[in-house]
């Protein structure tokens, strides 16, 4: 077994374990952290496939940004685990049956000849001056420019949708109005009142 293979199996098994942990852990914060670990492991696997750009993007975007945000949300929301688990025991047997069946089918498919290690040619490693990022960019902006642009539109849509669903102006909420703040003059805010002195009684 080569060093590469050993590495592959290490990362793969961690990936599977951590993915399992995401689903099974009781504490949602722990689940989120396990997901982070899963991302790391898949990034490592991509790295081994010479997909450096994707690997780094995965870590930067998902681990660095998305998951952190996600952790915040999980911590801020009060998720009642106990209530969510109601009926779990009842549904477990059916769930297990379905899962086993699913696994059986998957096994049937992947045990076929297409996915055995020998069926795919061993990729030849690229030369040292091969730039993964550049190649990806070339593909994205030529062959796949249409879906790529569409992805941009989807992001725009996501922004619009998110705003549409969350932005609300409640009655009575207080807002700052910076455009008014900057144009205020002293006269608007300070009123000098001359208070006449009164003689003591």
């Amino acid at each position: 077994m080569s060093f590469e293979q050993i590495l592959f199996y290490v990362f793969s098994s961690f990936l599977v374990l951590s993915a399992g942990a995401v689903v099974t852990l009781r504490n949602p914060v722990h689940s989120a952290l396990a997901l982070v670990l899963a991302f790391f492991n898949s990034a490592a696997l991509w790295m081994m496939l010479e997909a450096e750009f994707l690997a780094i993007t995965l870590v930067l975007v998902y681990v660095g940004a998305v998951m952190v945000l996600f952790l915040f949300v999980v911590m801020m929301l009060d998720i009642n685990i106990a209530r969510m688990r109601e009926g779990f025991a009842q549904l477990l047997p059916i769930g297990i049956v379905v899962a086993v069946l699913m696994f059986g089918v998957m096994y049937q498919v992947y045990n076929g000849d297409r996915f055995a290690p020998g069926d795919m040619p061993v990729p030849t490693p690229h030369a040292a001056d091969y730039e993964n990022t550049r190649e990806l960019g070339l593909q994205l902006y030529t062959t796949y420019v249409f879906p790529f642009e569409l992805a941009a539109v989807v992001l725009l849509l996501a922004i619009v949708a998110a705003i549409a669903l969350t932005l609300r102006r409640r009655e009575g909420t207080k807002y700052q109005a910076p455009e008014k703040q900057v144009v205020t003059r002293r006269e608007d805010r300070v009123r000098l009142v001359k208070v006449p002195s009164e003689a003591r009684k």
Binding site: L91, I94, V98, L101, M102, V105, Q108, V109
Partner: protein, 666 residues
């Protein structure tokens, strides 16, 4: 030449139809005068053109016209067409139908002029009833023409049903009278029985000949002579016999032969003009015409011919007897019609088709005359039809009296009158027949002559002679009917006298119907009789020494004695022979049997089918049952939609798994 005839024939058929449509659908705008004008003009056109066609076909002998006018549809190699077959037989029928129809149209103007009195106040059906009546009789003329001019069974059936429909409508014309409604329902139902046989017969023709065209069927009929069929069991039936008898069952319904005759006396509930037109002169003879037209088929089955003959004889004799005890003037004429139809049927049975059709023609004239005469009396009597309230009308209604006398003499077969020639031909033909039971039938038809004379003159004497028995009020208003009534009577009286002598040498004893009617040599009774035929005048003279004439004279004499000299005797006979009178009074129990057994059983069956098979099985189990089970299923399956998200997700997964199960693991 045929081309112009083509247009003329279409015109003959369409003229009454157009008249009928105009009078029926535009009753309001046309008004009474407009309605009877358009229909009379339509029928008059048809009548004149029919005469022209008769001249061309029968006298100029330009040949048979047989042409398809319009192909309705073709299905599975069989054409359904409208086509005309016009030969001497058809031409004669066309003239008879349109002429009598025209007379009746004119007569109706007088008869129906006060029709509004027949409807209760504010009756919706009474509105425009006058126009509707004209529309119906024109429609009848159209239907009857379609029937007689048909060159295929499909059109024959159309005409057959159409005249039945109009007959139904007209019998029940006064739809506010319960008896009229009962009568038209009865006519309809009884005819249904006949028509069922008729359509089975047509189906048989279609099955074995694979065509509906007359000419094609007749051309190959001979080859099918020995075919047999299996109806049930192992019994083999001659196809020809089965088809002929089935067709004849249709004729029995339409031409009111025993035992399907029961509707005809009741049909007298209709207005008298249609009794004359439909139930005496034309429609009821459709069966006779049809059998004559089918002679190439009937000639192939002696069994069928015997059957026809016996049915005819039974009708001729027993229905005549019933005429003796009727008091309603129209019913007497109705029973005499039944009896005369029986004579025609007997003629068909002994293969004397020509004599039968000849009698059909003469009968059409004198029976229409008698009916219209009776109608004239009824008008004068303010729609009282009971002969016991009449008497002595001769001096009030000379024209009606004279024409009725002519009609009666023609009916009983007084030498020289039309009926003499036709009826005597039939009787002689029966005498010459070799069919089984022909001897018995001969006796029955001879006895029928006596009976005919007896009831005819009983009616004549009761109505026109003796002491007037009507109440004073009626008596004061007695007077001859207007000319629209009397002229048709006169016009019909002429052929009632003359038609026999004019046509006797050509129709029954000549070659007039050659080509139209086919008689097998061994059945040719008329040819046998014809050997002794030496012109109309010698036949006329022979009449004074022939047995039927003496029987008729005896009948007249008896009637005179019983009803003029000793009116007490009939009452005494009635007492002495109370059983016979009871049987006759109940019309041999046909009506009781039909209503008590057949109708009751049908109602019982209908009730059973309604309650059990319709309400319980079909409505309950099939219709509502399936609807309910669908509803139940819907109510159950809607609970699949639980509203829980995880259920939905689960269903998706299970669906996915099921698809895998079906399509991957197989």
């Amino acid at each position: 030449m045929t081309e112009s005839l083509h247009n003329i024939l279409v015109a003959i058929v369409l003229a009454p139809l157009i008249g009928s449509i105009l009078a029926g659908l535009f009753a309001g705008p046309l008004g009474r005068k407009g309605a009877h004008t358009v229909t009379i003009v339509g029928v008059a056109i048809a009548c004149l053109l029919s005469m022209y066609v008769f001249k061309r076909i029968a006298i100029d002998e330009i040949g048979v016209f047989n042409q398809t006018i319009y192909t309705w549809l073709k299905s599975d190699g069989i054409s359904f067409e409208v086509g005309f077959l016009v030969d001497n037989l058809t031409a004669m029928m066309m003239v008879v139908v349109t002429f009598v129809s025209l007379m009746v149209h004119v007569y109706t103007i007088g008869y129906m002029s006060h029709d509004e009195e027949n409807w209760p106040e504010g009756s919706g059906a009474g509105v425009n009833s006058y126009q509707r009546f004209f529309s119906y009789i024109s429609l009848f003329t159209f239907s009857m023409l379609m029937l007689v001019m048909a060159n295929n069974f499909m059109q024959l059936f159309f005409g057959w049903e159409a005249v039945g429909l109009v007959s139904y409508l007209l019998i029940g014309f006064w739809s506010v009278r319960e008896t009229a409604v009962f009568a038209n329902l009865k006519a309809f139902l009884v005819n249904r029985v006949g028509d069922f046989g008729f359509i089975l017969g047509i189906a048989g023709v279609l099955m074995y000949f694979n065509t509906l065209d007359y000419a094609s069927v007749f051309a190959v009929a001979e080859q099918h002579k020995d075919l047999t069929m299996n109806i049930w069991g192992d019994e083999q039936w001659s196809v020809m016999t089965v088809i002929c008898i089935l067709l004849f069952i249709g004729a029995m319904g339409k031409s009111a032969q025993v035992p399907l005759h029961v509707w005809l006396p009741d049909s007298m509930e209709g207005p008298t003009p249609i009794s004359a037109l439909i139930h005496a002169a034309t429609m009821v003879t459709a069966g006779i015409y049809m059998v004559a037209r089918m002679s190439p088929l009937y000639e192939l089955s002696e069994t069928a011919l015997t059957f026809v003959m016996i049915i005819g004889a039974l009708t001729a004799f027993f229905m005549g007897l019933l005429g003796l005890i009727q008091n309603d003037i129209k019913r007497v004429v109705a029973y005499s019609t039944l009896s005369q139809l029986g004579y025609m049927t007997v003629a068909l049975g002994v293969s004397a088709y020509a004599a039968g059709v000849f009698h059909l023609m003469t009968h059409a004239f004198f029976k229409a005359l008698l009916f219209l005469g009776a109608g004239s009396v009824i008008i004068a009597m303010h729609h009282d039809q009971d002969m016991r309230n009449m008497g002595g009308l001769r001096k009030y209604m000379p024209w009606t009296w004279g024409t009725s006398l002519v009609g009666s003499l023609a009916l009983i077969g007084a030498p020289g009158f039309a009926g003499y020639y036709s009826k005597d031909s039939i009787i002689m033909a029966v005498g010459a027949s070799h069919l089984p039971y022909a001897d018995l039938v001969y006796v029955m038809v001879l006895a029928g002559v006596f009976i005919t004379a007896l009831y005819s003159f009983r009616m004549y004497f009761l109505v026109f002679h003796g002491e007037p028995r009507m109440d004073e009020h009626t008596k004061e208003h007695l007077h001859e009917c207007p000319r629209v009534v009397t002229w048709p009577l006169i016009a019909l009286a002429v052929p009632s006298v003359a038609a026999g002598a004019v046509f006797v040498s050509s129709m029954p004893f000549g070659d007039f119907f050659d080509g139209a009617i086919k008689v097998a040599h061994e059945h040719d009774t008329l040819a046998h009789v014809g050997e002794h035929f030496h012109g109309w005048f010698s036949m006329f003279l022979h009449g004074f020494v022939a047995l039927p004439t003496w029987l008729a004279a005896a009948g007249v004499g008896t009637a005179y004695y019983l009803y003029m000299k000793r009116p007490d005797i009939p009452a005494m006979i009635e007492r002495k022979l109370s059983l016979v009178h009871w049987v006759l009074d109940n019309k041999y129990g046909f009506d009781a049997f039909n209503q008590g057994v057949i109708a009751a059983a049908s109602r019982g069956l209908g009730r059973f089918l309604w309650k059990v098979s319709d309400l319980l099985l079909i409505d309950g189990l099939v219709v509502n049952g399936s609807a309910k089970s669908v509803g139940l299923l819907a109510a159950v399956t809607r609970h699949l939609q639980s509203g829980y998200l995880y259920h939905y997700a689960f269903v998706m997964i299970v669906g996915l798994l099921a698809l895998f199960g079906i399509f991957i693991l197989q």
